[in-house]
């Protein structure tokens, strides 16, 4: 099986690496780059635990080949905080208890960040629609939606 030399930017850091054709972006992130914030859930694009941004748009990293990301810019949950400052969403999830077991949280945060980037002041339906690819089995979603609303309002 062929291997491919790829260069990608992950959370602002340029990475040069070699991957086999059948390595997913998720495997590359977790097992080679050590970015285990992105979770491996269903491996079928259903649960959203592996959501990351590619060139600003959210994707399921379990459904992307690493080789495809040559030249791309990736942001994972580890890249949301800047200079030691939590993203407004992360702060709001803490404030509003949008987290229980935490397994879905990285994916939810990344999907919500993408939403706020394309629609800074979403209504509740927009929030639910944007997060319908992120399954949470603990919170019942109410506090997640509240936290996203609060972050959109500026974290109050």
């Amino acid at each position: 099986m062929a291997t491919h030399q790829i260069t990608l930017t992950v959370n602002g850091v340029k990475e040069h690496t070699q991957v086999s054709s059948n390595i997913t972006l998720l495997t590359l992130l977790r097992e080679r780059l050590g970015l285990t914030g992105t979770k491996n859930g269903c491996a079928a694009g259903e649960c959203g635990a592996c959501t990351v941004l590619i060139d600003g748009e959210p994707v399921n990293a379990c459904m992307v080949l690493a080789v495809e990301t040559d030249g791309a810019e990736i942001v994972t949950v580890e890249g949301l905080a800047r200079d030691g400052e939590l993203d407004a969403l992360q702060a709001a999830f803490i404030e509003h208890t949008g987290v229980q077991c935490g397994f879905c949280t990285p994916g939810v945060l990344v999907s919500a960040r993408a939403l706020l980037n394309r629609s800074p002041d979403p209504d509740e339906d927009e929030i639910k629609d944007a997060l319908r690819g992120n399954l949470c089995r603990c919170t019942g979603y109410v506090r997640i939606v509240e936290a996203v609303k609060a972050a959109a309002r500026g974290g109050d």
């Binding site: 054709s21 059948n22 590359l28 080679r32 694009g45 459904m63 992307v64 495809e68 993408a114 992120n134």
Partner: protein
């Protein structure tokens, strides 16, 4: 360090740069090469063991494959590998093809639609493919590149059976051409899944209509169904009832009955055939009534 990737077979990956390269590879590997666009179905099938390709041919960077263009004369041209979010947010699609937006947004979730493509959705030739109903109803032409040059296939002749389409060996879909809808057109797509969002359809119905003086009722309607036959289908019987008219609750009901009669669903994990039949009638009637309301408002 060699990374393990449980679940995926061993395959090679090629990022194609010309259509000729793709055609050559498809002809060279007739049984074990797969076209690769968004991968949202290919990944699932590879992990299920249902598909074990030796070669994935990525066509996303071929010229024009992710382009979306519009011309009132020639209509909307969607590159086969344009992702569904790009389609749904395109200003022209929003303005002229709201039915297409409805059907695209019925697919899975936003992150999945960042990758999923209309070309892939059509080429899966699944009876439940959401965008297939829009392609049928809007009478799209599906353009394939192949060893004998380009070939345009009407959407109505594209789907041959579950997972089977009209592409020949060496051909691949490059573009979906959707004519500008007739003047006064209104359309509606309704999908019923096991949950409110994202699931595959138990049954789906699309209806559209437009004023046409040559029809006795003064209107032409189109009706399409998903998940209730070996392929997505149009229902000419229902369309004939509405062309005859007059358009009212009774004829909408009769057209919905015709749709129910045309449906040949199966029992599966998502629903029984009997339930699907009943839902075809409900969804078709609902879509028709909504389209009729929109037409009256515009007229």
């Amino acid at each position: 360090m060699e990374l393990a990737n449980p679940g995926l077979p061993n395959f090679d990956y090629v990022r194609a740069t010309t259509p000729a390269e793709v055609i050559g590879l498809l002809l060279q590997h007739p049984d074990d090469a797969r076209l690769f666009m968004g991968g949202t179905d290919v990944f699932v099938r590879m992990r299920d063991g249902a598909m074990t390709p030796k070669l994935l041919i990525d066509v996303k960077r071929l010229p024009g494959l992710t382009e979306i263009t519009y011309d009132p004369e020639t209509g909307l041209h969607i590159g086969a590998a344009a992702n569904m979010n790009a389609i749904a947010r395109h200003p022209v699609v929003l303005e002229h093809y709201p039915l297409l937006v409805e059907s695209v947004n019925a697919v899975a979730s936003y992150p999945l639609r960042t990758r999923a493509t209309m070309g892939g959705n059509l080429c899966n030739a699944s009876p439940c493919a959401d965008t297939a109903l829009a392609a049928l109803l809007l009478e799209a032409m599906l353009v394939a590149a192949g060893p004998d040059g380009d070939r345009a296939i009407p959407a109505g002749a594209f789907f041959l059976g579950p997972g089977k389409h009209a592409l020949k060996p060496g051909e691949f879909l490059t573009r979906i051409e959707i004519p500008t809808p007739p003047a006064g057109w209104a359309g509606r797509f309704i999908k019923l899944g096991r949950n409110a969002h994202g699931d595959l359809a138990i049954a789906s119905a699309a209806a559209g209509g437009y004023p046409d003086e040559s029809a006795p009722s003064g209107y032409r309607f189109r009706v399409a169904l998903g998940s209730v036959a070996p392929t997505p289908i149009r229902v000419p019987e229902a369309e004939a009832i509405l062309a005859q008219g007059p358009i009212n609750e009774k004829t909408c009901d009769a057209a919905a009955d015709a749709a129910r009669a045309a449906a040949r669903p199966i029992d599966d994990v998502r629903a029984s055939a009997k339930y699907r039949k009943a839902m075809v009638k409900t969804l078709t009637r609902r879509a028709l009534v909504e389209v009729w309301a929109m037409l009256q408002k515009e007229g």
